[in-house]
Symmetry: none
Subunit: 219 residues, 4 copies
């Protein structure tokens, strides 16, 4: 399981970054509320008091984590690469695009799994965190997705008789179920060994679970 965190590209004081990293790493093992400030300080290599120069309270560290997670998610995961894929490959077949997106996302999720795990566990219980996620991620995705979707629709690559958001949820649901199963219930999951599974997953996403009466959308 990947537990490396890379906040180096963020513009933060060095110590603040170290504290956040430490907080994420330890929270990733035990959950945020079971993580103590003294552990964080030790792992970050600072004095316990120093933490409280950068974060008023322990809860604020969580908010710091959230902020970073969302910044990364928003800027790197969603926009950069997703946007690129959407735009640069718009003449490609949906199957190919989907696979590129999934692999790209998988790699990112894997890299930032510690951060996301903490985020998810807190989002389960805190409305305010969910709201930040909503307004920063989901809502920003919305526009991109609709554009991407209409592009696909125009090219006849995607069905147009259902709400685009349901289509997306289908994809995301499959994706999350895959991630969840691999991350939580499998030891030493490696992406490279899963390409066959990913292909099959995409086939199901594209063509559904009904028996294929005739070749659709595929090679």
């Amino acid at each position: 399981m990947n537990v490396n965190i890379d906040l180096s590209e963020l513009e933060l004081p060095d110590k603040e970054k170290k504290i956040l990293e430490a907080a994420i790493l330890i929270s990733n093992e035990k959950g945020f509320s079971s993580t103590t400030t003294s552990e964080i300080a030790k792992r970050a290599g600072v004095a316990e008091g120093t933490i409280f120069r950068y974060f008023k309270t322990k809860k604020d560290i969580l908010h710091g984590i959230m902020l970073q997670a969302i910044r990364i998610a928003a800027d790197k995961i969603l926009l950069n690469s997703l946007y690129d894929i959407f735009k640069s490959r718009e003449q490609k077949e949906l199957r190919v695009i989907l696979k590129e997106i999934l692999l790209d996302r998988l790699e990112l999720v894997q890299r930032f799994f510690p951060m996301f795990r903490v985020l998810i566990s807190e989002a389960l219980f805190h409305q305010d965190i969910r709201e930040v996620i909503c307004s920063n991620l989901i809502n920003r995705l919305d526009k991109e997705i609709r554009e991407f979707y209409s592009n696909l629709a125009a090219r006849g690559q995607i069905r147009t008789d259902v709400d685009p958001m349901l289509v997306m949820r289908n994809i995301i649901g499959n994706f999350l179920a895959f991630i969840g199963q691999k991350m939580l219930f499998t030891d030493n999951f490696s992406l490279s060994e899963s390409t066959g599974e990913i292909d099959a997953m995409i086939t199901l996403i594209l063509d559904g679970i009904s028996p294929a009466k005739q070749t659709k959308g595929g090679d």
Copy 2:
């Protein structure tokens, strides 16, 4: 958001049930590790010491919750109704069966959401809890699903060119994404208003997101 818990059908000492219920309700709000035994006691209407007559440690309360969740999940969710649906409706079309199952499951998940939320949040961090879930739920499901699957396959209702477990994951992923979105990001979600959405979801599960080249699997 549904926060009613009903453990009344369980054969437990009255006080133990009350303690469990209180633990679930509060954990549902703040997470288990942020829930204190004194809060539990207060909400359960017992003295704090009484808790420790029924549960040796606080962690044992969590195990108690797990036990109940699994008992309910295993007996009610998985076996009773799922089994019934599988067996009694085996001549029906997959679309119909799927809808029955999803509605049935949705109703149950909704009812026991607090319990499951606590469970999920703990499973995120504790391998031992994941293992109990695995061995009690997932593994037990495995056999049922394979039987159900081969029944469907024999009747030509489901595609046979992919691993049955991937097919299931497709369904479960859609289901969980639906649940997650509704439970976490929607206020006052009501099942009855969502039947259209569920139908669309099932269509996507069955036929995929590719444009329908020709009618598949019905109506």
Copy 3:
């Protein structure tokens, strides 16, 4: 180490005796204040509530122990046998009498060691307990000892140029140092293997640690 307690000859309700016995046995292992009433109840084979029918508070159990210890010590240890030895053997040599007394006492102390250990540990801290010991044991001994002493003195068996009480303390000190060393710092001490040591001890008591310039008092 002997941990059998025999309160059978005491005139007490059966349950009260069992509770006392249990309290002594467990206190002997951990000290009285680390012994819980529930442990006592379990070992005594009664319900926890029953204890409080016989003893108003836990402290009263200690008083019960004390009472029994002193009763036994006073009646059995001091009076019965000591008196007998004093009287019946008054024509014997001091060395012989001493040995009989020491062996007799050793045997008794060994038998009731658990009780005495608890007593000693409590007496270390509680003036009231020390007072009871004083008035019941030491003061009662006083008269016996003086009589015994003057009998010996009359027969020229004991030196008369020091306070009789100091003479007694010499004997008791030796005795307690012996007991203490054996009970606390020796595993599996057996009286029968210590007769040589006891003889040497008596020689030292009788003749002192100075080099013997000439045979005194015996063989």
Copy 4:
């Protein structure tokens, strides 16, 4: 009863010393296991949490007490002065040496009685503590005593027909009986008023309780 504790010469953080002193003083009144950390904190003038910066657990406070007791006992009681007395006075008569030693020891025991009382009461029940006492005190004494003894023996000042350890036990037993009686059963004991008693005690140690047939060892 003497309840002054003086740890000032120890090289310990100020707070740690205060906590130890408080623990000793209160344990001296009620025994260690009846002493609460909150009492210790209050008496030491620190917050309860502070205790646990210096001692990981309450039991470690006891170990701290033991450590100090043994350090004091080993360095001051046994080595410094005892060694001095042994060496520097080796031409003196045994009676004189004994008296010096006893007075010296008495003064120390009196000064550190609270500490020793706690130690004794715990040693009664805890094998591990007895072992530390054994290996740190008794075993270290052993060599010194044997040397001292052979020196005396060479000069014909002590009897050589009994095990040196029994000789020592005779002395120690007398000493402890004296201490015990004075400390526990006498109010306001003062050393200076007891010199006559000590002389008599030494006479008994040296010459035994048999009537002096002929002058031995002096005056």
